[in-house]
Symmetry: D2
Subunit: 309 residues, 4 copies
Amino acid sequence: MTLIDRTSHGVYTIMPTPFHSGGEVDLDSLRRLVDFYEAAGVDGLTVLGQLGEAPKLTHAESVEIVRVVLDRTRLPVVVGVSAPGFGAMRTLTEEVMSLGASGVMIAPPANLRTDDQIVGYYTQAAAALGPGVPIVVQDYPLTFSVVMSVPVLCRIAREVPSVVMLKHEDWPGLEKIGALRAAEEKGELPRLAILCGNGGLFLDFEMRRGADGAMTGYCFPELLLDVVRLAGEKRTEELHDIFDAHLPLIRYEQQPGVGLAVRKHVLRRRGLLASDTQRKPGRSLSAVERDDVDLLLARLARRDSRARL
Amino acid sequence: MTLIDRTSHGVYTIMPTPFHSGGEVDLDSLRRLVDFYEAAGVDGLTVLGQLGEAPKLTHAESVEIVRVVLDRTRLPVVVGVSAPGFGAMRTLTEEVMSLGASGVMIAPPANLRTDDQIVGYYTQAAAALGPGVPIVVQDYPLTFSVVMSVPVLCRIAREVPSVVMLKHEDWPGLEKIGALRAAEEKGELPRLAILCGNGGLFLDFEMRRGADGAMTGYCFPELLLDVVRLAGEKRTEELHDIFDAHLPLIRYEQQPGVGLAVRKHVLRRRGLLASDTQRKPGRSLSAVERDDVDLLLARLARRDSRARL
Amino acid sequence: MTLIDRTSHGVYTIMPTPFHSGGEVDLDSLRRLVDFYEAAGVDGLTVLGQLGEAPKLTHAESVEIVRVVLDRTRLPVVVGVSAPGFGAMRTLTEEVMSLGASGVMIAPPANLRTDDQIVGYYTQAAAALGPGVPIVVQDYPLTFSVVMSVPVLCRIAREVPSVVMLKHEDWPGLEKIGALRAAEEKGELPRLAILCGNGGLFLDFEMRRGADGAMTGYCFPELLLDVVRLAGEKRTEELHDIFDAHLPLIRYEQQPGVGLAVRKHVLRRRGLLASDTQRKPGRSLSAVERDDVDLLLARLARRDSRARL
Amino acid sequence: MTLIDRTSHGVYTIMPTPFHSGGEVDLDSLRRLVDFYEAAGVDGLTVLGQLGEAPKLTHAESVEIVRVVLDRTRLPVVVGVSAPGFGAMRTLTEEVMSLGASGVMIAPPANLRTDDQIVGYYTQAAAALGPGVPIVVQDYPLTFSVVMSVPVLCRIAREVPSVVMLKHEDWPGLEKIGALRAAEEKGELPRLAILCGNGGLFLDFEMRRGADGAMTGYCFPELLLDVVRLAGEKRTEELHDIFDAHLPLIRYEQQPGVGLAVRKHVLRRRGLLASDTQRKPGRSLSAVERDDVDLLLARLARRDSRARL
């Protein structure tokens, strides 16, 4: 078991949860997905996130999914354990860490407003989980309605040692990455690993600001890996060339509410998911949306052969 | 097992969850509370509500609490089953209904905005739980940020037959009760039982508007029972006399965030709870707050001997 | 012209804006109100607040109202100048200060979230208005959705010298007053005058925590004056006796959306307003609500002869 | 004076308000912008919108800006008149309509929640403005926190005859356009002109769903005109080719808070604005952001010669 830490980097894929058309968890597709991501070369996996439909799973299903993923791969696996209370959060955390997870991800509850409330929440969460569990803070105001300023993130990083990683998806967020890295330079902030979300919509520039990689679920992880690699090699034009080829689809997939349906549709077309079913409340693509996505895929395939489905 | 229905009425007490000072559930105090409420003459109990600290309990603890309460009383027991997803909601519902619960209460998730979204949510929830489970809709915009208009409640009542009761705690809400009863008269709304929350802060007038009683946890259920009874007997002046004697404390207890600490403090002083502990995140009364409450209790005791502690 | 400062105290009445039944500003009633409040003995007036229907007035009407009030009284007058932008805020401020206003009150725009955003807003507002204009910060999360923690208020008070007063209406807010006074003791906060709002709902206890008085518009300013005076004389039981007599009406008047209609209704019954009209969007009391209020007034009159209307 | 109506279509540019570096309105740049947009071939102009920094202007400045624009062009001009109250809204509307404006745009206040509240607001606004003033409803939940469902828009369109146009910027919004057009087919909705905002981020697909054009302020109106024209000619591949070339910049410009700084920076580089100054609270691009935008412009220029600056 490897734990994530402040030096973790690369591409961590947010995994969707596959369901059969009747709504049961589809473990075969789950294993196929794990194999696919591992073969693609990702650096880690994240399961039971928001786009993994975690809130729609029972506790037993959540644990089973983590078990199956951990049985299938030696990649580090981060598990989303956000819950309305610390009781359920701790129970799930203990189970998945004992199974071999590498860390947990915690989103803030929507009623947090002031700086003190936010810092207090992560302090209490870390105390509830105990010192040995590395925590990823999910900074996603658009979905969670909680705005974490740079000073708040500095305080969390200083006061809560088990917080080692930021899943960065504030929007806009480019300047924030720069400000966090500057604070780190000045010693106001212990280093945090910063992996970017938002479906990759700004990954081209996020890497230049000092991000360590991506933690998101865009339906072509190959693109995320390319961008991270080309950024490391400072091959800027090639980075933008491949990124821009994918941007029309990235943009389409990043629509709230629609995104997961796009992602499951493409993963099904890629032969990885048996069905694009979401549990309720959820949706599939309409016929017109499927046409849109297929048009985007066809255009993409001309510039990136991996998109020939 | 009796199920709640559209004719249910009277006082349903929202029960707090007793904890030992270390944070474990205190089942002895729980049983003592049940006995106390039953002896006081309440018409039903509600457990695992927001002020029952439900989100801080593990699934196993939640089920255990329901089991202990149902073993102890023949009163109808409503169980809060609000959850981020229908999976966990159904699992808990099946367990507590099979144990003998009389119905479930569901609060809306905070992201619902439009009328269609709200109606759709309760439609899907009812489908997930199945037709035999009576549902209480919790209408509490101050806490849940979801505003249910009278037309929305009419649509829910018409389209979702298993919704039989409204826990009314919109604020302001007096006109709403009147409007709902008027809609019922006009045949736009199948009758709903309307029990009022908000700590009882407007119960004196809510009964006149057509409420069927109270579902709330004010630390003197005796007062709620008095008001409901005197309203039924149309003894208006006596109703207001006893209500007004309690109002300074009701008002103090109704402060968000503070209220549960007041409630547990008084129930401890009444010899019902062994400890006023809340699970994290929670709080106890400060020394000054305890002085405030004790002053209010002393003044109340001069007008209502049941408050002599 | 007297300016408000950090030692201001007592009762500042939030004045409603009187309208004729057709919607025009009723300057005769306005003058009558000013005379009434002055005769009652209040320490100051606040005009163009939220409950003064300020956003429904044109700029010209706003200035005219301030002019008429200032022409009529030598009491200090605070003017609400909240506006979506600093341009309009500065224009109105310059006009009313040159007419003789004693200070201005600024509510935060609803989109502020982080501590830095809130402090930044008041810093910029004070810079826009210039150094000679005393500012009242309005801390009213229930209406404005902006939560100001004690550390934020300390920062504002330290960094923005022209902020001299807090209109305190956080809810719950008793502990906050205590925490602000403790911070002042420790030198973390330059003294602020703290006047309490929320319709007076907690004024009985707020004075004990260290408030300097009330700034609110309860329809019996006599009660607010009593409470402030009795608190100063430490006559606690008499304070609670008179406060508790008014509490049923205070509580009814404090309902969001309904409160102003109650206030205007009572002020009309007291012979001060010619009409209880509100500008759109607004409302009058329904017949049932009028009955409620009249019942409350009749009961109050038995304990406070000033309520015999 | 031409009024907008239900058949209006094409590209209406949201105009930024130019300021000198000291913060005064820059009327020379304003006239230059008008000339530029007219020469580019846009179908109309929209002034005093959210991105026109309308809330930061005094009333006098707002009127002056409208006057200068109307003096300079014969294009139809829509004026944003959103205000916290109907008094100021009517005053501004009367002035700009008498100057020759073609209609007004109204954003919903952030506190609207239920369907009835939203419909009621536009009903009251239209009554306040009078029957001769065509109204554009701005549907932009991300900024205004008000979610307008398709049934709500149908009700507004049916019940408020002066509402003739929808500025569509819900997100996601593609299905909504389709649903509105389907409702129109079924006779549930009088035809509305639908112009799309969101900086153009989905304009490629919005046109296919039945939009009538764009009302947004992307710094290359030429692109918006191309997309609308190519959509009309059903030249899908060319449409996507030119759109995709601009998408990296569109995406960068569409970041909340950053977008206007990008827009003003590019318009300054295009020689249209003398300064990229925003009034407070506002911002300019950081050095790194300027580098980002310049890189995007350089890459764009290779595919669209109009971007060679």
